[in-house]
């Protein structure tokens, strides 16, 4: 069980308010991702939930119980740190068993749980090594192993993949998602990478300067961003934001069109411009188009076979049904 409720939680360091009053509910078994640019308070929020930082005011409830002033160890949460924070002088087995040893569990039960976790995480062959002898991905798995043996109410991940290389990151992303499907335990995951957020989350919490900008499923956020910030943050490449006369045609202050919702043609279209850079990924091609009279750059996605090059003039047509409209305050017009 792991339903986590934040009720009017605030956090300040001296005079600096990092988290203004904030309400959030994470349901039992949910995979929640906190995402936002660096310095938006997402790690602080995670540390507040973990108990590594004290809240300035407000309450944190775990399974209906007030956990605001309970010590981190007693909250029944397990955390995976960005640096993994493995104990370098202990073997992998001892690292994973450490929380059990601290809980005073008997040796046979410790071994049983460590062996189980090791087999789940493919670490059985490495149990007698030290963390220094492992690769980045293996260390990551040891850190996760140390978290799962405690059978916690919820897992907290603090940017766990940011120290891995790109290929390994994709692999670990799948492993963590799979682990969540199998354990069905609440997970809270902090990242600045919106791809991680989109691919893993049941619920994404977009944060900016401590404020929650929007909470919703990945597709909610993709299809109906509540404001300009979320619109620009979710989706890759970024949504094209166009202000001025073109937006006025749609009765809006700003309109947003995703690169994948624009079709390109050599001959005719609603907008036109000159290709500055074309990125060929094989499956897709991205054109960065200048001199459109709409915005500095318009990004367009086309099929892999479309072969415009630098300097070519192209014509573009947005799909009318998926144009996002925003008012002067940057809020979505329904």
């Amino acid at each position: 069980m792991g339903r986590i409720v934040l009720d009017q939680v605030t956090k300040s360091f001296g005079d600096v308010t990092v988290i203004p009053p904030l309400d959030l509910t994470i349901e039992d078994g949910e995979f929640a991702v906190f995402v936002g640019p660096s310095g938006c308070g997402k790690s602080t929020l995670l540390r507040l939930i973990a108990g590594l930082e004290d809240v300035t005011s407000g309450a944190i409830r775990i399974d209906g119980e007030d956990a605001t002033s309970i010590s981190p160890a007693k909250r029944g949460l397990a955390m995976v740190f960005q640096s993994y924070a493995l104990y370098p002088h202990m073997s992998v087995r001892k690292n994973i068993a450490f929380p059990l040893r601290m809980a005073g569990m008997d040796k046979a039960e410790q071994d049983r749980r460590v062996d189980l976790a090791a087999s789940v995480l493919n670490l059985t062959d490495y149990l007698d090594r030290r963390p220094g002898q492992l690769s980045g991905g293996q260390r990551q798995r040891v850190a996760i192993g140390r978290a799962i043996v405690r059978e916690p109410a919820a897992f907290l991940f603090d940017e766990p993949l940011s120290n891995l290389d790109a290929a390994l990151r994709v692999g670990m992303r799948l492993e963590i998602s799979e682990l969540h499907k199998r354990l069905k335990t609440t997970m809270i995951y902090v990242t600045h990478d919106q791809v991680e957020a989109m691919t893993m989350a049941d619920k994404i919490v977009v944060l900016r300067a401590g404020f929650i900008e929007q909470v919703g499923s990945p597709l909610d956020l993709y299809h109906a961003p509540r404001n300009l910030f979320v619109a620009g943050f979710i989706g890759s490449p970024k949504m094209n934001l166009i202000a001025g006369a073109e937006a006025a045609k749609h009765d809006a202050h700003t309109i947003g069109v995703r690169p994948e919702h624009i079709s390109v043609s050599a001959t005719d279209g609603e907008w036109s411009g000159v290709v500055a850079v074309s990125e060929h990924l094989g499956s897709d091609t991205f054109f960065h188009v200048h001199q459109t009279g709409l915005a500095d750059t318009i990004t367009v996605r086309a099929d892999g076979e479309v072969g415009f090059r630098h300097g070519d003039r192209i014509h573009m047509t947005p799909r009318a049904d998926v144009i996002h409209r925003f008012d002067e305050q940057g809020l979505r017009i329904a």
């Binding site: 973990a50 160890a73 397990a78 955390m79 493995l86 450490f98 601290m102 405690r150």
Partner: protein, 288 residues
Amino acid sequence: MATKASRAAARLMLAPAVILLLGWMLVPLTMTVIFSFKRYLPMRGGDLGWVGFENYVRFVSSSAFWPAVQSTLMIVGGVLLITVVLGVLLAILLDQPMWGQGIVRILVIAPFFVMPTVSALVWKNMFMDPVNGLFAHLWRFFGATPVSWLSEASMPSIILIVSWQWLPFATLILLTAIQSLDSEQLEAAEMDGAPPLSRFIYITLPHLARAITIVVLIQTIFLLAIFAEIFVTTQGAFGTRTLTYLIFQRVLESQNVGLGSAGGVYAIILANILALFLMRIVGKNLDR
């Protein structure tokens, strides 16, 4: 350092320093070894010829030898124990964020800058003097009879003085080591349910193991040779005669250079055995 010419130039430029250092070490060492096989009494006839191992046998069979070894080990062991234990505690204390951190750290390190002779004199006359010392005043204030430290508790007094000098060194090395401890490890241990004492035992102490062995190694080498502290306080009386001090007495007070040199060779062997032993421990710790 890639070409032949640059390697040759490097050797040439290093040569003066290497020759100087070798001379500095080899000349006294050779002279000590030569004298140790001679009967050499500067005031009573000078060089009286070769005597084989007689000096070695006499030095060891002297009634002063084993007590000297014992007091040497007691001082080294006592000082190491005090400086390492207090050094770890002080390092943890100084690592806490506090107001005036810079000044406090400099003050803690200050005793290390005081010359051994001076600090021993200060301790002897200012603190431990049975009539005018601060300790005597303190004892009298509470109605107790002042202790004449250097004669009644000579060994603990000398250990205290030397520990006071070496504590800053240990603290400094251990403080830098403690500052390199990843705070996320401590937080992870906290999340794992380890109370403060367990965090200290399972995380902080193993992290400090390497620094502690280095402190022990360096201090042992220097503590085997302490002399000034004994010279200005007890003059080797009241069971504080160490091996170093015994050699000094043989050479300068008894004017027997041959016998003293034999003691010197024993001291070299003892120091090397200890150093070898400690290097192996350090080596084992550095492997990880």
